[in-house]
Amino acid sequence: MAEISPHAIVEPTAEVADDVVIGPFCYVGPKVRINSGCRIANNVTLLGRTTLGERTEVFPMSVIGAAPQGADEDDGECVMGVDNAVREHVTIYAGANKPTLIGNHNLIMIASQIGPGAHLGDHGIFDNCTKIGAEAVIEDYVRMSGFAAVGEGVRVGAYAFVAGYAGVIGDAPPFAMLQGFPVRVRGLNTRNLKACGFSDKDIHALKAAFRELFNGRGSEVNCDALNRLAADAGANSHVQKLAGALKTALAKAGVGDVQDD
């Protein structure tokens, strides 16, 4: 039987697995599903159609599945994968039109906010006070530093590092280190790539591509270099992925002279 504090309020229709721990003063809404191994600390509020994957850890004062600000219905959906840690004072909004999706093995630190309909990948680390806008897409292995913000509907590529106080207002390429407001590409996130087991050959190829693509200030993409890299079928697969992401980003922003495939 689940270990639920007598001071917690769990609605009778909520689905709670057998070995879940729920601390005092929690509220678990009627449409919430909590899978096995989850540990919910005290004063946590779970609302909407929220699903917590196996072994999710939720720390005190967090709110998961909150209705988007301004919406009056408590019916949004939020689906979380396995092994996530949601720290103190975090707010994860539930998406009304499309669900908020959070992958696996993420660490979401104190006072972060994840907007409605946002889509987080796997193995992300989001530092304190990170704000992720509505319907933003964060790919796998992204690291975000304190106070970083991602705008609405923006995509942050895999293995990217977003520095503290950065404001990502347009799509950000994968493998990049991003800093400033508006955000600029500072270079290749070599440290994260090494930690994630990229070979030296891949890292060298990406480094060369970054040097060609971005000018000294990292604020705009060299379109000639981009077209050349995208057309090179023999290029490194990671470089191809980078070029593809940049082309999509530029097409979305409606800037640059990019050839269609």
Partner: protein
């Protein structure tokens, strides 16, 4: 406490927790088994205190604080590390402080007479000395030392292993990536990576609060002017000052700057990466706490 609150028993205090009889605990609080709370401490509503946390006397802990939770650090192995909070601190709403990590000295310490405003965060293995002011939502990353009397304004973030010197001031919304020398005013006006925050002048209020003897103050002002009007060739200028035979605060300032230069990226505490810093072995200074009263007279 009002009679109303006394009648409401909606709080969960572990019977093993040691709480002074005249400490007051508000409703919806959760207090863990290894917690010690000293006399006269007022814990407001919805506060969570867990872990091996020791809180001294006459503190005020406001709504929504979470103290003594696990560090947000992947190297933490789950050991019984500690959080110590001294006396007469005011912790604003939703302040968070974490216990230490085993490899970083296993102790997070907040001294006496500090003012931590709403939403500020003291991470694992931080040492916040006395009479420190942390503004709203100030984030201290791990392994930081904030020395006595320092003032960090709203929304600033401090990088791992940074030392903020005595009576220094960090301006609002500043990303602090290197050590902040004592008695200086450290600011950024532009978050572009090409113009990182720098020392922008002397923290006058800090010098006033430190109550230095006239001669020391004069020497300190001279040293600050020499070193920071232009930060180029800092090491040479420090050596010149040392050769001139500066004493007291000016000598301490030179030593601080020299240590920072010898560290990594201007952070002297980087040298303690992966080991317990000396602060974790020192007991709190005996004069801590009486300082502020002496100043007020």
């Amino acid at each position: 406490m009002s009679k109303m609150t006394d009648l409401t028993v909606l709080r969960e205090i572990d019977p093993a927790a040691r709480i002074a009889p005249d400490a007051s605990i508000g409703i919806y609080c959760v207090i863990g088994p290894d917690v010690t709370i000293g006399s006269g401490t007022k814990v407001n509503r919805r506060v969570t205190i867990v872990g091996h946390t020791r809180i001294g006397s006459n503190n005020v802990i406001e709504e929504g604080c979470v103290l003594g939770a696990f560090p947000q650090d992947l190297k933490y192995a789950g050991g019984p590390t500690m959080l110590h909070i001294g006396h007469r601190n005011l912790l604003g709403r939703e302040v968070t402080a974490h216990i230490g990590t085993e490899s970083g000295g296993a102790l997070t310490r907040i001294g006496d007479d500090n003012l931590l405003m709403d939403g500020s965060h003291v991470a694992h293995d931080c040492y916040v000395d006395d009479r420190v002011y942390l503004g709203r939502s100030v984030l201290l990353a791990g392994h930081i030392r904030v020395q006595t009397g320092a003032r960090i304004e709203d929304l600033s973030g401090v990088h791992h292993f940074v030392t903020v010197g005595r009576f220094a001031r960090v301006g609002a919304h500043t990303p602090v990536r290197r050590d902040v020398p004592p008695f200086t005013d450290f600011q950024s006006f532009n978050h572009d990576w090409q113009s990182p925050p720098t020392v922008c002048g002397v923290h006058e209020a800090g010098i006033a609060n430190a109550n230095l003897p006239k001669e020391q103050e004069r020497e300190l002002r001279f040293a600050l002017k020499e070193l920071f009007v232009n930060e180029a060739a800092l090491q040479t200028k420090i050596e010149q000052l040392v050769n001139m035979g500066v004493e007291g605060e000016a000598a301490k300032l030179c030593e601080f700057c020299l240590n920072s230069l010898q560290g990594v990226y201007g952070r002297c505490r980087e040298l303690y990466r992966g080991q317990a810093p000396p602060e974790s072995r020192q007991p709190p200074s005996p004069e801590a706490g009486i300082d502020i009263r002496r100043n007020k007279q």
